[in-house]
Every structure is written in C-alpha cells, then in structure tokens.
Symmetry: C2
C-alpha cells in the first residue's frame, strides 16, 4: 500500500513532472541562477530556531542505535529550502560571489496529517538572491519577473501574480492604533480571506472586540485588488501618513516600475496579501490560478531583510520565491490539465530475427541511440508479428526490421500509425524519418 502523503507517479505521469521541472529550470538558468542542492537533513536545533512549529518536523533516529544521541545533535528532515539555504550561504560566504542567485529543486518533508492537495513529501522549486551588502529593489523585480515567466513558460493555466509589501501592510495596521497583541492576530485573519471571505473576516474581527469603524476600515482596505497603474491613487485613499506605509508604497511603486510593462496585465496589487507571519520584511508575492480558486497559492515568496542572522553576524538581505511542483502536479492530474501521452517515449522497437542475430539488432539500435533516439531491442525472438503487436500495444511509433539477403544487410522501418513501410538504404536514413515524426508530435 502506498504511504499516505508520499506521492508516487506512474512513468508517463512522471514525464509530466519532468517536463514541468525542465521548463522552469530553463527560465531559472537563463536568468543566471545557479543550482544548489543541500543535504536533506539539518540539525533539529537549526530548524527549531527558525520559527516553525516543531510538530511538523520529522526527526531521524537510527533504528538500532543504543546510544541516545544528544538532542543537540538530533537530525531532522528539512521542511523548506530557505533555512538550509541560509545555512549553506553562511557556511560558504567566502566561496560564493554576491549577489548570489541560486535555484534549488528538492524534496521537503512535513509531518502534517495529509489532506487533499497537501503532502508529507513534496518538491519545491525555489529561487533566492542574496547579497552581502544592500540588495537593490531591482532584485525584487527580477524575482517577481522570473516567477511570472516560469508560469508563462508552463502556459498550462491562467494565472495572476499578486503583489503586496509588508511595510505597506504594517503601516496601515499601525495607523489604526490597535493593541499590540491584536496586530498579528488581525494579519492571521486577513491571511485567510480567500478561504473564509470578507464576511468570515468580519466575524473574526468582531470576535477580537475591535470597534466597528476599525473593522470597516480593515474590510475596505483588505478588499482592494488593484492594477499596478491604479495603485498610487488607491493607496492614497487611506490617508495613512506614517513612514512605514509611505515607505512600503514607495517600494511597491519602485519594484513594479522595474517590471516589464507587458507583465503588468497579470499583476495585481492585493491589499490582503499577507503570506503568513513569516520572515518577510518588504515585497511579498503569490501566484494564484483564477480557474482553480480553491487551489490557493501555486507559488510565492518575498523579501527578507536578513537571511542569515542565526548563522552569521553578517546581515544578508535576500529576496526569493518558491513554486510548489508536487501541488501543481496534483492539480494537473486532478483537473486533467495535461494527460499522459498515449504513445511511448520509446521511439523505435528494433526487432530480433533470432538470438544469433541479436548483436546485429543491438548495433542498429546503438547507431540510432548515438543520435539520441530512444530504442528498445525486443527481449526475445518470436515471430515478427508478435514483436509488432508488442510495439503497437505500447504505442511505440516505429518498428525496425533487419533483412539479410545476397545483397548484404538492409533495413525496413514500419510506421505503425500510417502502416507505411519504408526501405532504408542504411540506418541513418531511418533517423530522418523518426525525427520528422517526433517533430510532428512535439
């Protein structure tokens, strides 16, 4: 029985995941991000100190260790890629060029009770840019653009890229002169607005005992979802004059000014975008899929003023974002956004006339393989009809036959779709046919 929360795919479904990964990798790489892979484990103390509820973390314990290792040394599986990246950067400060742009595709683990769309083991696909000096807002704009382009490259679904700014948000809530303990509570409530709606938010704010006029103001504010162009005007409607709010507005405006205008169409400044109570200190972003409103976030991230305070005395400003590959896979499969190919990734079945001539079949296959064609040589040597049936059943598009007569060796290629049989002067001639068909499919 498969283990709940630990997804596994059939080979043709795995191909979809491989394609997702390759498509996003190309966007990340061409934007000068370098691949980093950290170990799957961290000291538990490292994870604990980075502000995550311990109960979601998987500890490691050697099955037959008699010695109880000291709890300081307890190892645990990482639950995200940001904490390990912070540690990695601080360990390698002198071996990296800054600003350092990295991408990471790794599995992460969370011991949560599995539910629809939630996994215990899943792939995240992150980018982060970290600097040893100040990190210009151009890097925020770049992060946002790269994530945008990744979803554009997938071109599987309509998407909106939501932006906000933590300073802008906090400035607004400060202006309400709330009790200190209420501010984080309110942010937690606002964070749920897409799930519980404005009326749910209203109810929970009433429960906090806030006065009606503040509730009205919060509801009016958090209902705003405006275009990049409208933002300066709308942000002034709230007449908040504190430095935090003004600074946040200015940052947001500077960041969006550094994003290509062609991208603005799908960007939305969302005044309710909180992204949890995490370490973000400036820009925050989130990707949502309007056709799948219940799916939630397909990716998100933001700016954090100090990536490495726990690991280094140096201040390391950073900006990053993450795409949830495994969650996207679950959506793609559930909604049939992509379906596994009906054909095979094996392009040619090379038949075997008899075991004595298997080496000849192997050689023919090797010639095609050296040009990158995926070839299977039939594993037995029954009558050719059975071999053709085998290829048909698997969706292998071509079957190659070896003929021997007084003129020496010759080859025939059968296109199983058109039923056409092509006489080949040599194996290389078969390559052209196979590639032509491949490009038609692609």
């Amino acid at each position: 029985m498969p283990i709940s929360g630990f997804p596994e795919w059939l080979p043709k479904v795995k191909l979809i995941e491989e394609w997702l990964i390759a498509t996003i990798t190309k966007v990340y790489q061409t934007h000068a991000f370098l691949k980093v892979e950290t170990s799957s484990v961290e000291h538990f103390s490292t994870l604990e100190a980075n502000g995550v509820e311990g109960k979601e973390i998987y500890l490691l314990k050697r099955a037959q260790s008699s010695d109880d290792e000291s709890s300081n040394e307890t190892l645990a599986l990482h639950f995200d890629l940001t904490v390990p990246f912070s540690r990695y950067v601080c360990e390698n400060l002198n071996n990296l060029h800054f600003p350092f742009r990295r991408y990471s595709l790794q599995k992460v683990w969370r011991g949560e009770r599995p539910q629809r769309g939630r996994f215990r083991e899943f792939y995240q696909f992150d980018i982060d840019t970290v600097s040893r000096e100040t990190l210009p807002l151009a890097c925020d704009a770049e992060t946002i653009s790269v994530i945008y382009k990744a979803f554009e490259a997938l071109s599987l679904f309509k998407f909106k890229l939501k932006l906000c700014n933590r300073k802008f948000l906090l400035g607004f809530y400060r202006s309400l002169e709330l009790r200190t303990e209420d501010e984080p509570r309110i942010l937690v409530i606002i964070d749920k607005i897409d799930k519980i709606g404005a009326s749910g938010v209203k109810d929970e704010l009433l429960n906090l005992g806030l006065p009606q006029e503040k509730i009205d103001l919060i509801l009016a504010f958090s209902a705003k979802r405006v275009s990049v162009r409208e933002f300066p005007k709308v942000s002034k409607e709230f007449a908040v004059s504190n430095e935090l709010y003004q600074g946040g507005c200015s940052e947001l405006e500077q960041v969006t000014a550094l994003i290509d205008e062609a991208l603005h169409e799908n960007i939305l400044i969302d005044f309710s975008l909180v992204r949890g109570l995490s370490y973000y200190t400036g820009s925050i972003l989130e990707v949502v899929l309007p056709d799948y409103p219940h799916f939630g976030s397909a990716g998100g991230g933001g700016r954090y003023e100090d990536l490495g305070s726990r690991f280094s005395s140096q201040k390391l400003p950073a900006v990053g974002a993450s795409i949830g590959i495994t969650r996207l896979m679950a959506l793609i499969l559930e909604e049939n956004i992509l379906t596994p190919v009906t054909g095979s990734v094996i392009e040619v079945l090379v038949t075997v006339n008899n075991e004595e001539s298997r080496l000849k079949s192997n050689k023919v296959a090797d010639k095609l393989r050296s040009s990158g064609v995926n070839c299977e040589v039939y594993f037995k040597a029954p009558r050719l009809g059975a071999q053709i049936e085998y290829a048909e059943k698997r969706g292998i598009p071509f079957v190659l036959f070896l003929k021997e007569d007084e003129g020496g060796e010759s080859y025939e290629l059968k296109d199983l779709k058109s039923k056409e049989i092509i006489k080949l002067p040599d194996v290389a001639a078969g390559y052209a046919h196979i590639i032509a068909k491949r490009e038609m499919v692609g």
Copy 2:
C-alpha cells in the same frame, strides 16, 4: 558546520554532478529505460523484511507527536532503490508494461558511521529490468552493456567490468562438500579479497578450520580473472560436474555471447566476485577503476530470480545495476579527475546604464534568454568599468552594452578574453558570437 556524511557541493562542483547525471541519463533513456521515482520513505517493516541490518536504517519520528505510532506504521528512509522498486512494481502490476525497464536517480540514506568515501546520504543511479514471465539472459547482457556504456560515455577513467555468476560460484563451493554453515562464511571472506589479499583470505580460511587441500583449491579458484574468450577453458580446469556449476558456466557464456565484442576488451570474468550475500541468483557484475584500486566498486548489480516475493504472489525475475554517483563525485574531486570550470555558466552580463534604462537592459537579456543564453543583468547601475570588473571577476565571458544616440538604440558586445569589442546591428547578432564561443569551449 556541515553535517558529517551529508555532502554538499559548491555551485561549480554541483555542475560536475549535473553533468555526470545528464551523461548517464542519456545512456539509460536511449536504451528504453523509463524514469521512476519512489517516495524517500518506506514502512520500516518493509525494509526490515528485506534482509538488511536494521542499524543502518534511519527511522522517522514526528518531533512533537504525542501518540506513539504503532511500530508497524513506523516510517524509515530507504537505504537503496531496489526494495522501493520491488514494492512499486507490485503495487502497479496492472499499470506497467512488462518487461519493464526503469531507471531511478534518488538519494538513499544509511546511518553508518561516516568514513572516507562513505556517506550517510548519497545518490544512486539504478537501472532494473523486471518481467512477469521468464526474463531472458539477453536482459542480463543488456544491463551489463548499458552500465558499460554509461562508464564509456563518462570517459573519465579506465574501467574494468567484472562479471561472474552466482550459480557458478555456489556450484564450485558445493563441490567442496563443506559444512553448511561454512559456505556463507567462505563467501564473506572471498568478498573481501580485494581488501585483504589472497594471504588474508588464506588466514581466514585457516581460521575456519578448512583442510589445506580445500583452501588451496579455493585460493586457486578465486585467483582467476580471465577474459570472455578464456572463460570456457579455464572453468573446465576445476573439473566440477554438478548441475549448478555447469548451469552457471552456461549462463555466463550465453550472456557474454550477447554482449558486443567491442566491449569484451574491458570485461573480466572474476572468480572471486561475490557482491555480498545479497539476493542475486545468477549474473553478477561490478565496475572497478584500475587506476584507483582502493576505491572499490564504482557500480554493480546482478540478476535476482524474484524481485517481489514479499509484495506479491507473482514471481518477478529481474536484473539490475546501480552506479554510485556521490562516491564517484568524491573520487573525481579527491583525484582532480575533473576540476570545476574557471569560467561562469552565466554567458553574458548585460550592463545597466542607469536605473531608468534597466527595463531596456532586461529586454535585451530576454531576447538572448529566449535562445537559451544564460544572461545576468547587472543588479545596480554604477559606472560601466565596475560592471566589466564584476564580469571579469566571475569569469563571465561577454559583456553587452546598450548605446543610445540619434540613430536609436545600438549594442556592443565585449569579449573579455580577446578584449575585442563587436558592434552589433541587433541583439540577435550577439547571439551568434556567444554561441560560437560556447562551442569552442565545449
């Protein structure tokens, strides 16, 4: 501090690993193997039942779980890719085509005390072919050939592919009419021959209390390392007539007859090749690197008559092999077999004249990116000299400048190696120069 036994690489070292993986992937894929990825965890009971000392296994435990989960349900990190593959095949019997060829590149974990060349977390890169009916010896030959071609494709070191056959070995030891308990003990001793030498083997056999004549025979037998061509003659020298021995000889001869003769040169039939006391039942193979005799096995595998007996009532004969990617990485780095590139994987630094024109720089970069060129846009806008220095320091080979005058926008590309400055009529013209340089490097 990095955690002992959990290797991490700098970005340029990671590129070497990526290249290893890509090179072997191409060999596996063109030989019609399909990618499968299983979850990192299994039920502990599954691993325990598959014959591995429990002490090497990492159990998972949720950090704050109050309920002690029943030990049946305890999860553990997999220690290899074969046990998970068996489970996967048995779970998906009706959704896979047989014979099913799969490759898997995944991390595995072993809680051993780390030592030189041994890791607690490491990549294995496996192939396996599994059938629901009999699996012809042609599949053994294919597995051996594919592993051979993978090392050939790497072309990083001389290698020898050692072959033997478990039936042939057991047949020989049966003929000695040993006490039942001695047979596995002897095999364990023989398995260490490369480490302890023939004299070490002799000492340990003496300790077992074997008579001198049997020891002499064992030493003579296990010293044999012969070519494919010599094998039939040499195997007859030992005058063993039991069915097991004869069957093993015949299998070995059939398998090698199905391997292209061009490969025979690096194939050695090694009468001391045991590959542990694992589940192998027929062919066994191992790759060694003659220039690094202490490195041990760079890869290995064999035939197992029943992959899935624990998971299914169906008998599933299989043959497979594994390449130890992380161990190879350690060797490559230790012996400087490959050194990280001095240049950058970022091919062009697009300069920024001032923040107002950053979007123009971005657009130029995007044009190159759409052709697959890795571009970095400078993150600030200091004088151009500082930007050129930045590219030089990182080994980025080209810097692109945007010029604006009455004639509109124009571009210049500076080759930092030749110091040549090329005027570009348009961005696409820059692409040709960059690609030309890339191919020269490649």
